[in-house]
Symmetry: C2
Subunit: 329 residues, 2 copies
């Protein structure tokens, strides 16, 4: 699409790197697509008007998540590659939370004209590497100059013939189970916010979430009645399941082990670590409910129960810590 | 996904409207999704971790385009609904240019916290209405606060069992044909840029492109050897076809009729109207090449020829007007 003007700067930027305005849109797209690799679900990759992705069962799961510089990441806290991993993870986790296997990512990248081309290339490396962990590929995208660095990602996925696992299917008597971690990324963010760079375990968890992607399709196969990607905080996200399913959900604190590094950091920073564990976002754990007869495989651990009623409680009581995130408040 | 902070303002914004920070992300998402309607390809709409869209032939065509406030649109020149129509059109046209029928849109909307909620709602109306013209639906999205209003759209589509029509298949001897208009949106943009609001034909063409979506699948059925969405300007986009196919393309000026309003505006503004017709973007015409034996149906008109060689010429000569757009220059 053409633009209205916006006199670009040419050549080298203030830091001596080659800014994107110096290489141009098509030059940068060429550099980036040359770095990508494509899995078997990519029937046609970047370079035409649209990509073509396999959708073997005649349906495609699709989700979009956007990251804004200064709101969802900071360039002094995360490398471009880290941001790529995290942007991909946020989207791939949404696909996994439907019980689907991710197949493809599309990326809309808006960036200041003086941004180093290396930043965009390393972002693409991170996106591509994270996608490759589940056999998915970056198949397309768009770029524009913008005063605000923004990474909008769309993920596609394959349900393999199964019905999608919705937020609305939890039933009283179901077991609530979790795959993956909670609180690690929030703890890492708190650490960075206070000016520290360690413990590495927490800071790295914030920079690159460790998402249990395979647990999503696994839960679907096991007959999970509901599932959600824990992106805004466990209690906030379970609130969506509770509301959509018309059930109450009680979370047990003893379902969580606070690792030593987190406990130490919490003590040093004067934070209740359960604030991180119960209300912290961005680890992209998967929370699912299962009929009580289901034997949970390793990777899924029970953390609570579904009952008649409404709302989310912790050990039977209302939780009085901070709630999840709302992006405009 | 959680955010790092960014103290939002609550309640009413400076213009007395309700800003998005006053209603919150989930409130606004609820208001918007309540306005949407869904076609038969939407198997699961907004409200869960991902949407589910029909992909009947086991493949999905997918494309992403982003619009940035002040670069791709101006809020004093286009209404929110106009921007929605245009953002949808840019993406749906990419799907049509593969020979596919659009099925779904996903939207990542970044907006200043004091933006009127009405703007976001009307944007969604425009996106949804444009999608509905081809039976597609807005099935999902994400929102974030951002200093820069940005609309990133991903479109999905169905190839109906046909191979995608690529940019790389044009062969010497093929006829170059066009469906839709060129130059109208560029003329409208020039008019607005000079401070005028008429002629309406041109200004409206800029605000809401009239895209010949059905011509895309039709061209594929007719055996088109290559096809492209004319978004950056006819000659620039044919340059992509020429390079990808390894052929020369000659465009005939007499393939274009300059309508009276465009000729009048060109004269009044001191512009060569063929600059608009040959190099202006944003009308989202479809340009395709066909074997010479194909009888072109109405809607497609011949505008040139494919020959051995390289590059794009006009009436046999190099074109010396402005080239197409590059988003960082």
């Amino acid at each position: 699409m053409s633009e209205h003007g916006g006199a670009g700067q040419h050549g080298r930027n203030a830091r001596g790197g080659v800014g994107v305005s110096g290489i141009g849109e098509f030059g940068l797209i060429g550099k980036i697509t040359a770095r990508l690799s494509y899995g078997p679900t990519t029937l046609l990759g970047p370079g035409d008007d649209a990509a073509v992705v396999a959708a073997p069962d005649g349906r495609v799961a699709a989700s979009t998540d956007v990251l804004v510089d200064g709101r969802h990441f900071r360039r002094d806290w995360s490398s471009a590659r880290d941001v790529g991993h995290r942007a991909a993870a946020a989207n791939l986790a949404d696909i996994a939370a439907m019980g689907a296997t991710p197949t493809a990512l599309l990326v809309a990248l808006c960036m200041p004209a003086d941004l180093d081309t290396a930043w965009a290339e390393e972002l693409a490396d991170g996106l591509s590497a994270e996608a490759a962990t589940v056999g998915a590929s970056v198949v397309g995208g768009d770029m524009s100059a913008s005063p605000t660095l923004t990474v909008a990602v769309t993920a596609l996925g394959d349900l393999a013939g199964r019905p999608p696992v919705l937020r609305s299917g939890a039933r009283p008597g179901d077991v609530l189970a979790l795959a993956g971690r909670t609180g690690f990324a929030a703890a890492g963010l708190t650490v960075l916010n206070r000016g520290f760079r360690t413990p590495r375990l927490l800071v790295e968890a914030y920079r690159r979430p460790q998402v249990p992607y395979q647990a999503g399709p696994q839960a679907a196969q096991l007959g999970a009645t509901s599932m959600i990607d824990v992106s805004d905080g466990l209690l906030a996200d379970l609130g969506h399941v509770s509301a959509a399913s018309g059930v109450a959900i009680d979370v047990r604190r003893d379902g969580f082990e606070v690792p030593r590094q987190m406990a130490d950091a919490a003590q040093a920073l004067g934070v209740d670590p359960y604030t991180w564990v119960l209300a912290g976002g961005d680890d992209h754990a998967l929370a699912a409910t299962f009929p009580p007869a289901v034997v949970l495989p390793s990777g899924w651990r029970p953390i609570g129960l579904v009952t008649d009623g409404a709302g989310v409680t912790v050990d039977g009581s209302a939780y009085d810590g901070p709630a999840g995130w709302d992006h405009f408040r």
